[in-house]
Symmetry: C2
Subunit: 202 residues, 2 copies
């Protein structure tokens, strides 16, 4: 297995992966490549198979793997590491979520500062919309009838959310496979029973 | 084990958890409670033990568990479910990350729209800063000498990032336990070898 990691020199999420790689003794086996990627202009290298254009992204052979937590688990498994101790896994994941959430907020402070300078709210929205559309296209060939795992549940909840919040964008008009899959999955009791409340919207 | 889930009627992350709970046959065992929580005004119910104030948050007995992926795994384990099939786990987690990333961007579109109306960039930044400070305080009693799991790696990378990007805020002045832990952990080769590049900052 060859490993190639797309990185950015000042990303806390990349740093997390790099610390883990070193701790696990895998750092020498991973080539790295810095890319410049933002919500408005994602790096073309990433768009090949990660339409959100986020770093870190790991090429494991021919496969692109993300996000940083998934990469941590993949590296830990490959090394037989102990970064997710079975006995304290729940506690470990909750602490990880707390740290990761703080990272997200820290990165957004920077983003807010740039935005205040540039007044580019519209550009931000356009970047998010484009990322979502690319994400749906990415998901389409990966949908499988009959399977209903955590990835499927997350995608189903996303489509339901878009349907409720942004119906005017007609997300599924250009995504016939996802539209069919969503129609099918929506008949499952677990999806129907948890439907979002309808207007008034807040 | 009693389960109590803090929810919001239109959160895609909550919906994801609710779909999973229904699919796993656990929905009847989970009480839910809607709360109103934003980056600027987190819900007081959550601040008890989730200083980021994000939903969904699960009370499992006396413990607060988050984020949505951690909750999914906890419920799946409790039910002996198949939401994370061992044979396709890596693929499942990558698809989950893609869907979750799209959710994040979708929610941020709304946030951008509110912000454009309100011009509250400063309030956003203050909200993020406050959340991070609360997060560090939350983490302090959970730090353990000698342990170095995925949660610790994430926290370490966060502190390094804050150190680099926002040194003027002196995050650790009010957090002596975290400061000591960070000084100690920073001597690990895996942390030292992956240090962030120093200025010029971009």
């Amino acid at each position: 297995m060859t490993w190639h990691l797309y990185t950015s020199p000042r990303s806390p999420f990349v740093r997390k992966v790099m610390i883990a790689a070193h701790e696990l003794g895998l750092a020498d086996q991973i080539t790295t490549q810095d890319v410049v990627t933002t919500p408005m202009t994602p790096a073309p290298e990433l768009l090949v198979d990660n339409p959100l254009g986020m770093i870190p992204t790991l090429m494991a052979g021919e496969r692109m793997i993300f996000d940083s937590l998934t990469i941590l688990e993949v590296l830990n498994d490959a090394a037989g590491g102990a970064l997710f101790p079975a006995g304290t896994r729940q506690d470990c994941l909750t602490r990880h979520a707390m740290a990761n959430g703080m990272m997200d907020k820290a990165v957004r402070i920077l983003d807010e500062q740039f935005r205040a300078q540039n007044g580019d709210t519209e550009a931000h929205i356009a970047g998010f919309v484009a990322a979502i559309k690319r994400g749906i296209s990415w998901m389409e060939p990966r949908l499988t009838e009959g399977r209903f795992d955590a990835g499927d549940i997350a995608f189903c909840a996303l489509l339901a959310y878009l349907d409720m919040r942004f119906p005017k964008f007609l997300w599924l008009a250009d995504a016939p496979v996802a539209a069919r899959w969503y129609a099918d999955i929506s008949t499952r009791p677990c999806v129907a029973d948890t439907a979002f409340q309808t207007p008034p919207f807040v």
